[in-house]
């Protein structure tokens, strides 16, 4: 095992897939000469040249659609959104072209494309730069959604996403890029889509989460173990579509209670679907209502004190867990 940052893990995945397959290219704002706004593509221009690492104009709708067109002819574009906040401008091409192409063409024309970049809030970037975008990418069928929370998952899942034959939205996080973690060194480390990961075992309560929040869930769980002797099980969905609901159900059937933690808004946040599935498929196992910990239902404010109030934190996770445990 090598210890890598999340950023390095993504960089390795891109490198390896581009070496493996000449049809893979990277396009986005600042990805080439600038090494990426967050340096995820560091060194790729030198390694692969400007044919395969392409700086784009600030034209999200255009270059997302260009990627789809390239994918229609069999290339495997990796389109970087500097952040998914800006991808709302491109959503029409994602939903109406990428996600529907294989269906409208009756399977003649696929769209093997990856849209990647950070989602959600970083630090004090204010309302227009702090939005968690999962909901906009998971509602419609035809596209898959991947949200790794650790360096190892970032590498293994990005490689799988690039090889997947369907459009994949791959959501990272500014606050994850410097996160260090062990990454297997085997020379083709791939994690299949659709497999959740129990990041911590426990029998008292289940915390289900994805992406950046995995690390917050683990903090909360450790604190509960120390302070209250409560053992929380932390289930990291890792991919939201395909969704490994079975692992969630197995855990809930063991703990009989669950909390969904996510960084975004509550109204049709990802947790709403997970709650709806759990109560439908494990109704008789539930000893308490399923609760959700989310961002405050406001656009993200700039002021640090307000931003801290708006974001989920370990204390809120712990309180929700206590509540479903009737403590």
């Amino acid at each position: 095992m090598a210890v890598l940052t999340y950023r390095e893990a993504l960089n390795q995945a891109l490198r390896e897939e581009m070496e493996r397959d000449d049809d893979v290219f990277l396009m986005g704002e600042e990805v080439a000469e600038y090494d990426g706004a967050y340096k995820v593509s560091k060194g790729l221009l030198d390694a692969f040249g400007d044919r395969r690492v392409v700086d784009s104009p600030i034209s999200e709708l255009g270059f997302a659609g260009l990627g789809v067109g390239a994918a229609m002819t069999g290339l495997r574009p990796v389109i970087e959104f500097m952040t998914f906040n800006f991808s709302i401008l491109a959503l029409d091409q994602v939903l109406n072209s990428a996600a529907k192409m294989n269906y409208m063409t009756n399977g003649q024309i696929g769209c093997p494309i990856v849209f990647r970049g950070p989602t959600g809030a970083a630090l004090q970037l204010s309302a227009q730069h702090s939005q968690a975008c999962e909901t906009y990418y998971v509602h419609a069928p035809g596209i898959k959604l991947v949200t790794p929370g650790t360096p190892a998952d970032a590498k293994g899942l990005l490689k799988a996403s690039i090889r997947d034959n369907d459009p994949v939205a791959f959501m990272e996080g500014e606050l994850l890029y410097n996160l260090k973690g062990e990454v297997p060194e085997e020379d083709d480390f791939v994690i299949p889509l659709g497999v959740a990961d129990v990041k911590r075992e426990g029998s008292d309560v289940t915390i289900v989460t994805h992406g950046k929040m995995v690390n917050l869930a683990l903090q909360a769980a450790e604190k509960m173990a120390k302070d209250d002797g409560v053992e929380a099980e932390v289930v990291d969905l890792r991919t939201l579509r395909p969704l490994d609901i079975d692992t969630v159900l197995t855990s809930v059937r063991k703990t009989n209670r669950a909390v969904y933690l996510e960084e975004g808004w509550n109204y049709l946040g990802v947790g709403a679907q997970i709650v709806s599935l759990i109560q439908e498929e494990a109704f008789d196992w539930l000893d308490a209502p399923l609760l959700r910990v989310t961002q405050a239902d406001v656009p993200m404010p700039y002021a640090k004190n307000l931003e801290n109030l708006a974001k989920p934190n370990a204390q809120r996770v712990i309180e929700a867990c206590r509540k479903v445990m009737y403590r």
Binding site: F25, R51, S56, P57, S59, L61, G62, F63, A64, G65, L66, G67, V68, G69, A70, A71, M72, T73, G74, L75, P77, D92, Q93, N96, S97, N102, Y103, M104, T105, N106, G107, Q108, I109, G110, P112, P141, G142, K144, D164, N165, D166, P192, L193, G194, V195, A196, T239, R241, P242, L243, D244, I245, Q273, L277, E280
Partner: protein, 346 residues
């Protein structure tokens, strides 16, 4: 002689005439199919604009790509999709070129390199640039031709796609079928200047063509296609044409936005089929008998397409869940609807 034929060989000219006759008869059959409820949804006819379909596409190679909007029946046929498979698609039948799943607005045939059939105005523009990017990426000598309506140039996607094509010198020809109206809106009400100026901001060369003169259109596109093929970079074309029917089958032919007289006058004087017929006749390259022969052939091919479509089966129920994904991942759940689904749709 060759002057009035714009240097187009008489045989080629006659085959263009046969094509346009087929397009006209095909669309008339589609009109009939819609009227009797065998075709549903939106159905946008190309009648009056056949010159653009024939003249722009005939000069292309089989390996060249065509992509368009929703008024694309005849373009699909021009690029080589059998009329039977196009009509079957309009009927929503399994034998349709999109398996009955796309319909009138979403005709596709990867083998013929007809890349749709797109319903979001301007949506095909970035896709076309992507196809051009892919051709360049692979170093091939292919070309992509992207059709759009005049109203589509006001979409942001047009702007972004044109700019990227210029920056990367993509082998793409962007063709505006300028019929002067977007639904009920005359173009001069939504733009201060004409289509022919819409590529100035990108320094992409523009050519204005009379689309009702299929020979002129054919000549211009033969030249442009080779220019682009040989690395000349993107081209923009303003093809002047006119829509003889309503915007779609559910819209009136004329109304507040254009007068009955205007339509009658244009149909009278600017029918691309009549224009070519006269040109060839004047050039002693066509006689009445041959013309009737051609038209009979066109009618029967259109009728054959209609009968084929009418007789062919609808998609089987399982088709509902087929092709949502190309790859059903072995792990995890991909489909969420609580319905009974075929086994392949987990």
């Amino acid at each position: 002689m060759t002057d009035t034929l714009h240097g187009v060989a008489p045989d080629t000219a006659r085959s263009l005439l046969r094509e346009m006759l087929l397009f006209r008869r095909f669309e008339e059959k589609a009109e009939e199919g819609y009227a009797i409820g065998k075709i549903g949804g939106f159905c946008h006819l190309h009648i009056g604009q056949e010159g653009a379909a024939a003249g722009c596409i005939a000069p292309l190679r089989g390996s060249d790509y065509v992509i368009s909007a929703y008024r694309e029946h005849t373009q699909a046929i021009a690029k080589g999709i059998e009329p039977r498979r196009v009509m079957a698609e309009l009927f929503g039948r399994a034998a349709g070129c999109s398996g009955g799943k796309g319909g009138s607005m979403h005709l596709f045939d990867l083998e013929k390199r007809f890349m749709g059939g797109h319903g979001i105005v301007g949506g095909q523009m970035p896709l076309a640039s992507g196809i051009g990017f892919s051709i360049r990426y692979r170093g091939l000598d292919e070309v992509v031709v992207c059709f759009m309506g005049d109203a589509a140039v006001n979409q942001g996607g047009f702007h972004e796609a044109m700019n990227m094509s210029a920056v990367w010198d993509l082998p793409a020809i962007y063709v505006v079928e300028n019929n002067a109206y977007g639904m009920g809106t005359a173009f001069d009400r939504v733009s201060r200047n004409g289509i022919e100026e819409k590529s100035l901001s990108y320094a992409i060369p523009v050519t204005v063509v009379n689309g009702q003169d299929v020979l002129e259109t054919y000549a211009v596109f033969s030249e442009l296609a080779e220019k682009v093929r040989s690395g000349g970079g993107p081209q923009f074309v303003d093809v002047r044409t006119y829509r003889f029917k309503g915007h779609s089958m559910s819209d009136p032919v004329s109304g507040t936005y254009r007068s009955k007289e205007e339509v009658e006058e244009r149909v009278e004087t600017e029918d691309p089929i009549a224009i070519l017929r006269d040109t060839l006749t004047d050039a002693d390259e066509l006689d009445q008998e041959t013309l009737e022969e051609y038209d009979e052939a066109a009618k029967s091919e259109a009728q054959d397409a209609f009968d084929f479509a009418d007789a062919s089966p609808v998609p089987d129920d399982d088709a509902l869940y087929r092709n949502v994904y190309r790859e059903i991942n072995p792990n995890g759940r991909l489909f969420f609807d609580g319905l009974d689904r075929p086994d392949f749709a987990r």
